[in-house]
Protein backbone atom coordinates (compact mmCIF):
# COMPACT_ATOMS: atom_id res chain seq x y z
CA UNK A 1 0.00 0.00 0.00
CA UNK A 2 2.83 2.35 0.90
CA UNK A 3 4.34 1.61 -2.52
CA UNK A 4 1.00 2.17 -4.24
CA UNK A 5 0.77 5.59 -2.59
CA UNK A 6 4.30 6.45 -3.72
CA UNK A 7 3.35 5.53 -7.26
CA UNK A 8 0.05 7.46 -7.10
CA UNK A 9 1.86 10.53 -5.77
CA UNK A 10 4.44 10.26 -8.52
CA UNK A 11 1.81 9.92 -11.25
CA UNK A 12 -0.21 12.83 -9.90
CA UNK A 13 2.93 14.98 -9.73
CA UNK A 14 3.57 14.24 -13.38
CA UNK A 15 -0.03 15.14 -14.21
CA UNK A 16 0.00 18.35 -12.21
CA UNK A 17 3.19 19.43 -13.98
CA UNK A 18 1.34 19.23 -17.29
CA UNK A 19 -1.92 20.89 -16.21
CA UNK A 20 -3.31 20.68 -19.72
CA UNK A 21 -3.83 16.94 -19.06
CA UNK A 22 -6.15 17.72 -16.15
CA UNK A 23 -7.73 20.59 -18.02
CA UNK A 24 -8.39 18.44 -21.09
CA UNK A 25 -10.59 15.88 -19.39
CA UNK A 26 -12.57 18.57 -17.55
CA UNK A 27 -12.99 20.83 -20.56
CA UNK A 28 -15.53 19.04 -22.76
CA UNK A 29 -18.07 18.18 -20.05
CA UNK A 30 -17.82 21.71 -18.62
CA UNK A 31 -18.33 23.30 -22.04
CA UNK A 32 -21.22 20.95 -22.79
CA UNK A 33 -22.78 22.01 -19.48
CA UNK A 34 -22.45 25.70 -20.35
CA UNK A 35 -23.67 25.48 -23.94
CA UNK A 36 -26.36 22.82 -23.78
CA UNK A 37 -27.50 22.11 -20.26
CA UNK A 38 -27.58 25.60 -18.74
CA UNK A 39 -29.62 27.30 -21.51
CA UNK A 40 -31.85 24.29 -22.32
CA UNK A 41 -32.87 22.79 -19.00
CA UNK A 42 -31.16 25.07 -16.46
CA UNK A 43 -34.50 26.19 -15.02
CA UNK A 44 -35.96 22.70 -14.81
CA UNK A 45 -34.83 21.08 -11.55
CA UNK A 46 -35.37 17.48 -12.65
CA UNK A 47 -34.07 17.96 -16.19
CA UNK A 48 -31.00 19.85 -14.97
CA UNK A 49 -30.24 17.18 -12.38
CA UNK A 50 -30.42 14.36 -14.92
CA UNK A 51 -28.41 16.36 -17.44
CA UNK A 52 -25.74 17.07 -14.83
CA UNK A 53 -25.55 13.38 -13.94
CA UNK A 54 -25.16 12.61 -17.65
CA UNK A 55 -22.35 15.16 -17.98
CA UNK A 56 -20.66 13.63 -14.95
CA UNK A 57 -20.81 10.25 -16.69
CA UNK A 58 -19.46 11.91 -19.82
CA UNK A 59 -16.53 13.30 -17.81
CA UNK A 60 -15.88 9.91 -16.21
CA UNK A 61 -15.83 8.29 -19.65
CA UNK A 62 -13.46 10.82 -21.18
CA UNK A 63 -11.13 11.04 -18.16
CA UNK A 64 -10.69 7.27 -17.93
CA UNK A 65 -10.53 6.30 -21.60
CA UNK A 66 -7.95 9.00 -22.33
CA UNK A 67 -5.74 8.88 -19.29
CA UNK A 68 -5.43 5.09 -19.25
CA UNK A 69 -5.49 4.60 -22.99
CA UNK A 70 -2.93 7.24 -23.80
CA UNK A 71 -1.06 7.20 -20.46
CA UNK A 72 -0.39 3.46 -20.43
CA UNK A 73 0.60 3.42 -24.11
CA UNK A 74 3.06 6.27 -23.57
CA UNK A 75 4.56 4.72 -20.44
CA UNK A 76 5.13 1.45 -22.24
CA UNK A 77 7.25 3.26 -24.81
CA UNK A 78 9.54 4.80 -22.16
CA UNK A 79 12.68 3.03 -20.92
CA UNK A 80 11.70 4.27 -17.43
CA UNK A 81 9.02 1.59 -17.32
CA UNK A 82 11.41 -1.40 -17.49
CA UNK A 83 13.69 0.39 -15.03
CA UNK A 84 10.90 0.44 -12.45
CA UNK A 85 10.61 -3.32 -12.93
CA UNK A 86 14.15 -3.72 -11.60
CA UNK A 87 13.16 -2.18 -8.23
CA UNK A 88 12.49 -4.68 -5.45
CA UNK A 89 8.71 -4.38 -5.73
CA UNK A 90 6.42 -6.24 -8.14
CA UNK A 91 4.20 -4.59 -10.75
CA UNK A 92 1.07 -4.53 -8.53
CA UNK A 93 1.78 -1.29 -6.59
CA UNK A 94 2.45 0.56 -9.81
CA UNK A 95 -0.86 -0.64 -11.13
CA UNK A 96 -2.67 0.24 -7.90
CA UNK A 97 -0.98 3.64 -7.90
CA UNK A 98 -2.14 4.24 -11.43
CA UNK A 99 -5.73 3.45 -10.50
CA UNK A 100 -5.57 5.68 -7.40
CA UNK A 101 -4.18 8.53 -9.46
CA UNK A 102 -6.77 7.84 -12.16
CA UNK A 103 -9.66 8.06 -9.70
CA UNK A 104 -8.26 11.26 -8.23
CA UNK A 105 -8.03 12.83 -11.67
CA UNK A 106 -11.53 11.62 -12.52
CA UNK A 107 -12.99 13.34 -9.45
CA UNK A 108 -10.99 16.48 -10.22
CA UNK A 109 -12.36 16.60 -13.74
CA UNK A 110 -15.91 16.45 -12.34
CA UNK A 111 -15.52 19.57 -10.23
CA UNK A 112 -16.30 22.11 -12.99
CA UNK A 113 -19.44 20.20 -14.00
CA UNK A 114 -20.68 20.02 -10.42
CA UNK A 115 -19.84 23.67 -9.78
CA UNK A 116 -21.64 24.85 -12.91
CA UNK A 117 -24.66 22.72 -12.00
CA UNK A 118 -24.77 24.12 -8.46
CA UNK A 119 -24.27 27.76 -9.42
CA UNK A 120 -26.01 28.15 -12.77
CA UNK A 121 -28.85 25.59 -12.81
CA UNK A 122 -31.70 24.41 -10.66
CA UNK A 123 -30.15 20.92 -10.45
CA UNK A 124 -30.87 19.49 -7.05
CA UNK A 125 -30.19 16.35 -5.09
CA UNK A 126 -30.16 15.38 -1.41
CA UNK A 127 -26.97 14.99 0.62
CA UNK A 128 -27.48 11.22 0.52
CA UNK A 129 -28.04 11.39 -3.24
CA UNK A 130 -24.85 13.38 -3.67
CA UNK A 131 -22.83 10.92 -1.58
CA UNK A 132 -24.36 7.99 -3.46
CA UNK A 133 -23.55 9.69 -6.77
CA UNK A 134 -19.95 10.24 -5.66
CA UNK A 135 -19.61 6.54 -4.85
CA UNK A 136 -21.33 5.61 -8.12
CA UNK A 137 -18.65 7.56 -9.98
CA UNK A 138 -16.05 5.07 -8.70
CA UNK A 139 -18.30 2.17 -9.75
CA UNK A 140 -18.99 3.45 -13.27
CA UNK A 141 -15.27 4.22 -13.67
CA UNK A 142 -14.67 0.46 -13.75
CA UNK A 143 -15.75 -0.30 -17.34
CA UNK A 144 -14.08 2.83 -18.75
CA UNK A 145 -10.88 2.19 -16.82
CA UNK A 146 -10.79 -1.33 -18.25
CA UNK A 147 -11.48 0.07 -21.71
CA UNK A 148 -8.61 2.55 -21.36
CA UNK A 149 -6.27 -0.17 -20.08
CA UNK A 150 -7.17 -2.45 -22.97
CA UNK A 151 -6.41 0.35 -25.46
CA UNK A 152 -3.21 1.37 -23.67
CA UNK A 153 -1.76 -2.11 -23.40
CA UNK A 154 -2.80 -3.26 -26.85
CA UNK A 155 -1.72 -0.28 -28.97
CA UNK A 156 1.27 2.01 -29.45
CA UNK A 157 0.63 5.55 -28.19
CA UNK A 158 -0.14 7.18 -31.54
CA UNK A 159 -2.74 4.55 -32.35
CA UNK A 160 -4.07 4.66 -28.77
CA UNK A 161 -4.89 8.39 -29.06
CA UNK A 162 -6.84 7.81 -32.26
CA UNK A 163 -8.70 4.77 -30.98
CA UNK A 164 -9.58 6.52 -27.72
CA UNK A 165 -11.07 9.39 -29.73
CA UNK A 166 -12.89 6.99 -32.05
CA UNK A 167 -14.61 5.05 -29.26
CA UNK A 168 -15.23 7.98 -26.97
CA UNK A 169 -17.67 10.09 -28.97
CA UNK A 170 -19.98 7.34 -30.32
CA UNK A 171 -20.19 5.88 -26.83
CA UNK A 172 -21.18 9.25 -25.39
CA UNK A 173 -23.82 10.03 -28.03
CA UNK A 174 -25.01 6.44 -28.51
CA UNK A 175 -25.43 5.90 -24.79
CA UNK A 176 -27.69 8.94 -24.60
CA UNK A 177 -25.37 11.04 -22.43
CA UNK A 178 -26.18 14.17 -24.43
CA UNK A 179 -29.94 13.73 -24.19
CA UNK A 180 -32.40 13.51 -21.32
CA UNK A 181 -33.83 10.11 -20.31
CA UNK A 182 -36.32 9.00 -22.95
CA UNK A 183 -35.72 12.11 -25.10
CA UNK A 184 -33.11 10.77 -27.51
CA UNK A 185 -33.88 10.00 -31.18
CA UNK A 186 -35.46 6.59 -31.65
CA UNK A 187 -32.41 4.82 -33.04
CA UNK A 188 -30.28 6.00 -30.09
CA UNK A 189 -32.95 4.80 -27.66
CA UNK A 190 -32.77 1.47 -29.49
CA UNK A 191 -28.99 0.99 -29.32
CA UNK A 192 -28.30 2.78 -26.03
CA UNK A 193 -29.08 -0.15 -23.70
CA UNK A 194 -26.41 -2.17 -25.45
CA UNK A 195 -23.68 0.38 -24.72
CA UNK A 196 -21.80 0.59 -21.39
CA UNK A 197 -22.36 4.35 -21.21
CA UNK A 198 -26.11 3.77 -20.91
CA UNK A 199 -25.85 1.43 -17.93
CA UNK A 200 -23.40 3.86 -16.32
CA UNK A 201 -25.60 6.93 -16.77
CA UNK A 202 -28.68 5.05 -15.56
CA UNK A 203 -26.84 4.22 -12.35
CA UNK A 204 -25.98 7.91 -11.97
CA UNK A 205 -29.60 8.94 -12.62
CA UNK A 206 -30.75 6.41 -10.04
CA UNK A 207 -28.31 7.84 -7.50
CA UNK A 208 -29.44 11.46 -7.87
CA UNK A 209 -33.11 11.17 -8.70
CA UNK A 210 -36.23 9.11 -9.04
CA UNK A 211 -35.10 6.84 -11.83
CA UNK A 212 -35.52 3.09 -12.26
CA UNK A 213 -32.73 1.51 -14.28
CA UNK A 214 -33.60 -0.66 -17.27
CA UNK A 215 -32.68 -4.32 -16.53
CA UNK A 216 -31.36 -4.73 -20.08
CA UNK A 217 -28.91 -1.83 -19.60
CA UNK A 218 -27.73 -3.30 -16.30
CA UNK A 219 -27.16 -6.76 -17.76
CA UNK A 220 -25.32 -5.27 -20.72
CA UNK A 221 -23.16 -3.15 -18.40
CA UNK A 222 -22.17 -6.37 -16.62
CA UNK A 223 -21.42 -8.02 -19.96
CA UNK A 224 -19.27 -5.06 -20.99
CA UNK A 225 -17.33 -5.14 -17.72
CA UNK A 226 -16.58 -8.85 -18.12
CA UNK A 227 -15.71 -8.42 -21.79
CA UNK A 228 -13.49 -5.38 -21.22
CA UNK A 229 -11.77 -7.04 -18.26
CA UNK A 230 -10.98 -10.03 -20.47
CA UNK A 231 -9.68 -7.77 -23.22
CA UNK A 232 -7.57 -5.68 -20.82
CA UNK A 233 -6.18 -8.85 -19.21
CA UNK A 234 -5.29 -10.27 -22.60
CA UNK A 235 -3.60 -7.02 -23.71
CA UNK A 236 -1.68 -6.80 -20.43
CA UNK A 237 -0.40 -10.37 -20.63
CA UNK A 238 0.54 -9.98 -24.27
CA UNK A 239 2.53 -6.83 -23.42
CA UNK A 240 4.22 -8.61 -20.48
CA UNK A 241 5.12 -11.47 -22.79
CA UNK A 242 6.66 -9.15 -25.34
CA UNK A 243 8.66 -6.98 -23.02
CA UNK A 244 9.34 -9.02 -19.89
CA UNK A 245 9.65 -12.70 -20.74
Amino acid sequence: MQYALAHARYQLLELVRTPVAVFGSAFFPAVAMLFFVVPAVGDDAVGATYATAAMVTFAVLSANVFQYGVGVAEDRAQPWDPYLRTLPVGPAPRFAGRVLAGLTLTYLSLLPVVLIAALLTEAHTTAAGFALAAATVALVSVPFTLMGLAIGYALPSKAAIVVAQLVFFPLAVGGGLLTAPGQAPAFIEAIAPFLPTRGAVELMWTAVGDFRPDPLSMVMLGVWIVGLATLAGWAYRRDEGRRFS
Binding site: A6, E14, P79, W80, D81, Y83, L87, P88, G90
Partner: protein
Protein backbone atom coordinates in the same frame (compact mmCIF):
# COMPACT_ATOMS: atom_id res chain seq x y z
CA UNK B 1 29.96 -15.47 -1.80
CA UNK B 2 28.51 -15.24 -5.30
CA UNK B 3 26.13 -12.32 -5.74
CA UNK B 4 25.20 -12.85 -9.38
CA UNK B 5 25.54 -15.97 -11.44
CA UNK B 6 24.67 -17.14 -14.93
CA UNK B 7 24.79 -20.87 -15.59
CA UNK B 8 24.75 -21.81 -19.26
CA UNK B 9 22.39 -18.89 -19.71
CA UNK B 10 20.91 -18.78 -23.19
CA UNK B 11 18.53 -16.22 -24.56
CA UNK B 12 16.80 -16.15 -27.91
CA UNK B 13 14.69 -13.38 -29.39
CA UNK B 14 12.83 -15.18 -32.13
CA UNK B 15 15.52 -16.45 -34.47
CA UNK B 16 18.26 -14.32 -32.95
CA UNK B 17 20.53 -15.98 -30.42
CA UNK B 18 21.45 -13.06 -28.14
CA UNK B 19 23.20 -15.13 -25.46
CA UNK B 20 24.69 -18.54 -26.02
CA UNK B 21 25.41 -20.70 -22.96
CA UNK B 22 27.02 -17.98 -20.87
CA UNK B 23 28.64 -18.81 -17.56
CA UNK B 24 29.47 -15.93 -15.23
CA UNK B 25 30.02 -15.59 -11.49
CA UNK B 26 30.29 -12.23 -9.77
CA UNK B 27 31.67 -12.62 -6.26
CA UNK B 28 31.20 -10.19 -3.37
CA UNK B 29 33.71 -7.35 -3.50
CA UNK B 30 34.62 -7.75 -7.16
CA UNK B 31 34.63 -4.97 -9.75
CA UNK B 32 33.96 -6.72 -13.02
CA UNK B 33 33.94 -5.12 -16.44
CA UNK B 34 31.79 -6.58 -19.17
CA UNK B 35 33.41 -5.60 -22.44
CA UNK B 36 32.02 -6.10 -25.89
CA UNK B 37 30.86 -4.36 -29.04
CA UNK B 38 27.28 -3.22 -29.49
CA UNK B 39 24.97 -6.14 -29.98
CA UNK B 40 27.34 -8.57 -28.25
CA UNK B 41 24.76 -9.53 -25.63
CA UNK B 42 25.90 -7.36 -22.70
CA UNK B 43 22.53 -5.72 -22.15
CA UNK B 44 20.70 -9.00 -22.59
CA UNK B 45 22.86 -10.52 -19.86
CA UNK B 46 22.14 -7.60 -17.51
CA UNK B 47 18.41 -7.84 -18.30
CA UNK B 48 18.47 -11.51 -17.31
CA UNK B 49 20.35 -10.72 -14.10
CA UNK B 50 17.80 -8.11 -12.95
CA UNK B 51 14.79 -10.22 -13.89
CA UNK B 52 13.53 -8.15 -16.81
CA UNK B 53 13.91 -11.13 -19.08
CA UNK B 54 13.78 -14.86 -18.55
CA UNK B 55 16.57 -17.07 -19.91
CA UNK B 56 15.47 -19.36 -22.75
CA UNK B 57 17.88 -21.96 -21.44
CA UNK B 58 20.10 -22.38 -18.39
CA UNK B 59 19.49 -20.17 -15.39
CA UNK B 60 20.48 -16.94 -13.66
CA UNK B 61 20.71 -16.31 -9.95
CA UNK B 62 20.80 -13.06 -8.03
CA UNK B 63 21.75 -13.43 -4.36
CA UNK B 64 21.09 -17.15 -4.79
CA UNK B 65 17.51 -16.57 -5.90
CA UNK B 66 15.43 -15.94 -8.99
CA UNK B 67 15.81 -12.26 -9.95
CA UNK B 68 12.22 -12.28 -11.18
CA UNK B 69 11.19 -12.49 -7.52
CA UNK B 70 11.29 -8.88 -6.23
CA UNK B 71 12.71 -10.01 -2.86
CA UNK B 72 16.00 -10.99 -4.51
CA UNK B 73 16.33 -7.56 -6.09
CA UNK B 74 16.50 -5.93 -2.67
CA UNK B 75 20.30 -5.58 -2.72
CA UNK B 76 20.85 -4.72 -6.35
CA UNK B 77 21.06 -1.24 -7.88
CA UNK B 78 20.40 -0.59 -11.55
CA UNK B 79 20.85 2.44 -13.80
CA UNK B 80 17.90 3.55 -15.92
CA UNK B 81 18.56 4.81 -19.42
CA UNK B 82 18.86 8.54 -18.88
CA UNK B 83 16.60 9.25 -21.85
CA UNK B 84 13.77 7.66 -19.91
CA UNK B 85 13.85 9.83 -16.79
CA UNK B 86 10.41 11.37 -16.18
CA UNK B 87 10.92 14.84 -17.62
CA UNK B 88 8.42 16.76 -15.53
CA UNK B 89 9.71 15.51 -12.18
CA UNK B 90 12.41 17.29 -10.21
CA UNK B 91 15.73 15.61 -9.50
CA UNK B 92 14.95 15.38 -5.77
CA UNK B 93 11.52 13.90 -6.46
CA UNK B 94 12.92 11.19 -8.72
CA UNK B 95 15.42 10.23 -6.01
CA UNK B 96 12.70 10.16 -3.34
CA UNK B 97 10.41 8.11 -5.55
CA UNK B 98 13.03 5.45 -6.31
CA UNK B 99 14.13 5.52 -2.66
CA UNK B 100 10.55 4.79 -1.58
CA UNK B 101 11.01 1.25 -2.93
CA UNK B 102 13.79 0.47 -0.46
CA UNK B 103 13.62 0.00 3.31
CA UNK B 104 16.62 2.18 4.15
CA UNK B 105 17.37 4.58 1.28
CA UNK B 106 20.34 6.92 1.24
CA UNK B 107 19.05 10.36 2.31
CA UNK B 108 18.42 12.60 -0.67
CA UNK B 109 20.95 15.27 0.30
CA UNK B 110 23.72 12.74 0.81
CA UNK B 111 23.15 11.09 -2.55
CA UNK B 112 22.90 14.43 -4.37
CA UNK B 113 26.18 15.44 -2.81
CA UNK B 114 27.95 12.22 -3.66
CA UNK B 115 27.13 12.56 -7.34
CA UNK B 116 27.61 16.32 -7.62
CA UNK B 117 23.91 16.98 -8.10
CA UNK B 118 23.31 19.16 -5.03
CA UNK B 119 22.66 22.33 -7.08
CA UNK B 120 20.18 20.52 -9.30
CA UNK B 121 17.80 19.08 -6.69
CA UNK B 122 14.92 21.37 -7.69
CA UNK B 123 15.45 21.20 -11.44
CA UNK B 124 13.07 19.15 -13.59
CA UNK B 125 14.96 16.29 -15.18
CA UNK B 126 13.69 17.32 -18.62
CA UNK B 127 15.73 20.51 -18.32
CA UNK B 128 19.02 18.82 -17.45
CA UNK B 129 21.91 18.41 -19.84
CA UNK B 130 22.70 14.94 -21.11
CA UNK B 131 25.64 14.63 -18.72
CA UNK B 132 23.57 15.74 -15.73
CA UNK B 133 20.85 13.25 -16.58
CA UNK B 134 23.49 10.54 -16.91
CA UNK B 135 24.81 11.38 -13.43
CA UNK B 136 21.32 11.25 -11.95
CA UNK B 137 20.69 7.92 -13.66
CA UNK B 138 23.86 6.44 -12.17
CA UNK B 139 23.07 7.95 -8.75
CA UNK B 140 19.71 6.13 -8.79
CA UNK B 141 21.53 2.78 -8.81
CA UNK B 142 22.91 3.66 -5.36
CA UNK B 143 19.73 4.95 -3.64
CA UNK B 144 18.81 1.66 -1.97
CA UNK B 145 22.23 1.02 -0.37
CA UNK B 146 22.87 -1.89 -2.77
CA UNK B 147 25.50 -4.56 -2.28
CA UNK B 148 25.74 -5.06 -6.04
CA UNK B 149 25.33 -2.41 -8.72
CA UNK B 150 24.87 -3.17 -12.41
CA UNK B 151 25.95 -0.20 -14.49
CA UNK B 152 25.17 -0.27 -18.20
CA UNK B 153 27.51 2.10 -20.05
CA UNK B 154 27.71 4.45 -17.06
CA UNK B 155 29.78 7.22 -18.64
CA UNK B 156 28.77 7.12 -22.29
CA UNK B 157 28.39 10.68 -23.52
CA UNK B 158 30.08 12.34 -20.54
CA UNK B 159 32.91 14.81 -20.82
CA UNK B 160 36.27 13.89 -19.33
CA UNK B 161 35.76 15.70 -16.04
CA UNK B 162 32.31 14.25 -15.40
CA UNK B 163 33.57 10.81 -16.38
CA UNK B 164 36.38 10.97 -13.84
CA UNK B 165 34.03 12.23 -11.11
CA UNK B 166 31.74 9.29 -11.77
CA UNK B 167 34.64 6.86 -11.77
CA UNK B 168 35.58 8.24 -8.34
CA UNK B 169 32.08 7.57 -7.01
CA UNK B 170 32.16 4.01 -8.36
CA UNK B 171 35.62 3.41 -6.86
CA UNK B 172 34.46 4.77 -3.49
CA UNK B 173 31.50 2.39 -3.50
CA UNK B 174 33.83 -0.49 -4.30
CA UNK B 175 36.32 0.56 -1.62
CA UNK B 176 33.46 0.39 0.91
CA UNK B 177 32.95 -3.26 0.02
CA UNK B 178 30.43 -2.83 -2.80
CA UNK B 179 30.37 -5.13 -5.80
CA UNK B 180 30.16 -3.72 -9.32
CA UNK B 181 29.36 -5.22 -12.69
CA UNK B 182 29.66 -2.61 -15.41
CA UNK B 183 29.43 -2.78 -19.17
CA UNK B 184 31.33 -0.63 -21.55
CA UNK B 185 32.60 -0.67 -25.04
CA UNK B 186 35.54 1.48 -23.97
CA UNK B 187 38.58 -0.51 -22.95
CA UNK B 188 39.87 2.64 -21.25
CA UNK B 189 36.92 2.73 -18.88
CA UNK B 190 37.22 -0.93 -18.00
CA UNK B 191 40.93 -0.47 -17.39
CA UNK B 192 40.34 2.51 -15.15
CA UNK B 193 37.85 0.68 -12.95
CA UNK B 194 37.81 -3.06 -13.23
CA UNK B 195 40.07 -5.77 -11.91
CA UNK B 196 38.49 -8.50 -13.91
CA UNK B 197 37.26 -8.34 -17.47
CA UNK B 198 34.74 -10.54 -19.17
CA UNK B 199 34.82 -10.15 -22.94
CA UNK B 200 31.58 -11.02 -24.61
CA UNK B 201 30.91 -11.22 -28.32
CA UNK B 202 28.23 -12.79 -30.45
CA UNK B 203 26.46 -13.91 -27.31
CA UNK B 204 29.38 -15.89 -25.91
CA UNK B 205 31.98 -15.30 -23.22
CA UNK B 206 35.19 -15.01 -25.22
CA UNK B 207 37.53 -14.32 -22.35
CA UNK B 208 37.29 -13.95 -18.59
CA UNK B 209 40.56 -12.78 -17.09
CA UNK B 210 42.48 -10.04 -15.32
CA UNK B 211 42.67 -6.60 -16.91
CA UNK B 212 46.36 -7.10 -17.70
CA UNK B 213 45.76 -10.38 -19.47
CA UNK B 214 42.94 -8.97 -21.57
CA UNK B 215 45.02 -5.92 -22.32
CA UNK B 216 47.63 -8.26 -23.80
CA UNK B 217 45.10 -9.51 -26.30
CA UNK B 218 43.09 -6.39 -26.86
CA UNK B 219 46.04 -3.99 -26.89
CA UNK B 220 47.29 -5.18 -30.24
CA UNK B 221 48.66 -2.89 -32.97
CA UNK B 222 48.03 -3.30 -36.62
CA UNK B 223 51.10 -2.70 -38.78
CA UNK B 224 50.21 -2.36 -42.45
CA UNK B 225 52.70 -2.21 -45.31
CA UNK B 226 53.11 -3.01 -48.96
CA UNK B 227 55.80 -5.57 -49.71
CA UNK B 228 56.34 -8.63 -51.89
CA UNK B 229 57.77 -11.17 -49.48
CA UNK B 230 58.10 -11.17 -45.70
CA UNK B 231 60.47 -13.22 -43.59
CA UNK B 232 59.12 -15.02 -40.53
CA UNK B 233 58.75 -12.40 -37.83
CA UNK B 234 58.51 -12.98 -34.07
CA UNK B 235 55.55 -11.72 -32.02
CA UNK B 236 53.10 -11.50 -34.91
CA UNK B 237 49.71 -12.69 -33.77
CA UNK B 238 48.06 -12.72 -37.14
CA UNK B 239 48.84 -11.95 -40.79
CA UNK B 240 46.22 -10.72 -43.23
CA UNK B 241 46.76 -10.08 -46.92
CA UNK B 242 44.66 -7.74 -48.98
CA UNK B 243 46.18 -7.86 -52.51
CA UNK B 244 49.66 -6.37 -52.07
CA UNK B 245 48.82 -4.86 -48.65
CA UNK B 246 49.92 -6.91 -45.69
CA UNK B 247 48.45 -6.36 -42.20
CA UNK B 248 50.36 -7.67 -39.21
CA UNK B 249 48.75 -7.81 -35.76
CA UNK B 250 51.32 -7.56 -33.01
CA UNK B 251 51.68 -6.74 -29.34
CA UNK B 252 54.86 -4.72 -29.93
CA UNK B 253 54.73 -2.59 -33.05
CA UNK B 254 58.06 -0.83 -32.31
CA UNK B 255 59.96 -4.09 -32.21
CA UNK B 256 58.22 -5.35 -35.32
CA UNK B 257 59.28 -2.28 -37.31
CA UNK B 258 62.86 -2.68 -36.08
CA UNK B 259 62.76 -6.33 -37.13
CA UNK B 260 61.47 -5.39 -40.58
CA UNK B 261 64.27 -2.87 -41.07
CA UNK B 262 66.94 -5.22 -39.72
CA UNK B 263 65.77 -7.98 -42.03
CA UNK B 264 66.19 -5.58 -44.95
CA UNK B 265 62.62 -5.99 -46.18
CA UNK B 266 61.82 -3.62 -48.99
CA UNK B 267 58.49 -2.15 -47.89
CA UNK B 268 56.58 1.07 -48.46
CA UNK B 269 53.49 2.92 -47.12
CA UNK B 270 54.06 1.82 -43.54
CA UNK B 271 51.10 2.44 -41.20
CA UNK B 272 50.79 1.66 -37.50
CA UNK B 273 47.33 1.82 -35.95
CA UNK B 274 45.87 0.66 -32.66
CA UNK B 275 43.42 -2.16 -33.28
CA UNK B 276 39.84 -1.36 -32.57
CA UNK B 277 38.06 -3.45 -29.98
CA UNK B 278 36.15 -4.90 -32.87
CA UNK B 279 39.37 -6.23 -34.40
CA UNK B 280 40.56 -7.51 -31.06
CA UNK B 281 37.28 -9.34 -30.60
CA UNK B 282 37.66 -10.85 -34.04
CA UNK B 283 41.10 -12.05 -33.05
CA UNK B 284 39.78 -13.61 -29.87
CA UNK B 285 36.84 -15.10 -31.74
CA UNK B 286 39.16 -16.53 -34.38
CA UNK B 287 41.32 -18.08 -31.68
CA UNK B 288 38.29 -19.64 -30.05
CA UNK B 289 37.34 -21.20 -33.37
CA UNK B 290 40.59 -22.72 -34.64
CA UNK B 291 38.94 -24.27 -37.68
CA UNK B 292 38.29 -20.84 -39.11
CA UNK B 293 41.51 -19.17 -37.99
CA UNK B 294 43.04 -19.27 -41.45
CA UNK B 295 40.18 -17.44 -43.13
CA UNK B 296 41.26 -13.88 -43.86
CA UNK B 297 38.91 -11.25 -42.55
CA UNK B 298 37.90 -8.25 -44.53
CA UNK B 299 37.83 -5.94 -41.52
Amino acid sequence: MILARAEQATRRYGDVLALDRVDLDVRAGELVGLLGPNGAGKSTLLNLLVGLRRPTGGRVLLFDGDPRDPAYRRWVGVTPQETGLPGSLRVGEVIDFVGAHFPDPVPRAELLDRFGLADLARRQTGGLSGGQRRRLAVALAFVGRPRLVLLDEPTTGLDVEARHALWEAIRAFHADGGTVLLTSHYLEEIEALAQRVVVIGQGRVLADDSVAAIRGVVGLRRVSLTADELPTLPDVVRVERDRERIHLLTGDADQLVRDLVTAGVSFRDLEVRPTSLEEAFLTITAESRPAEAGVPTTA
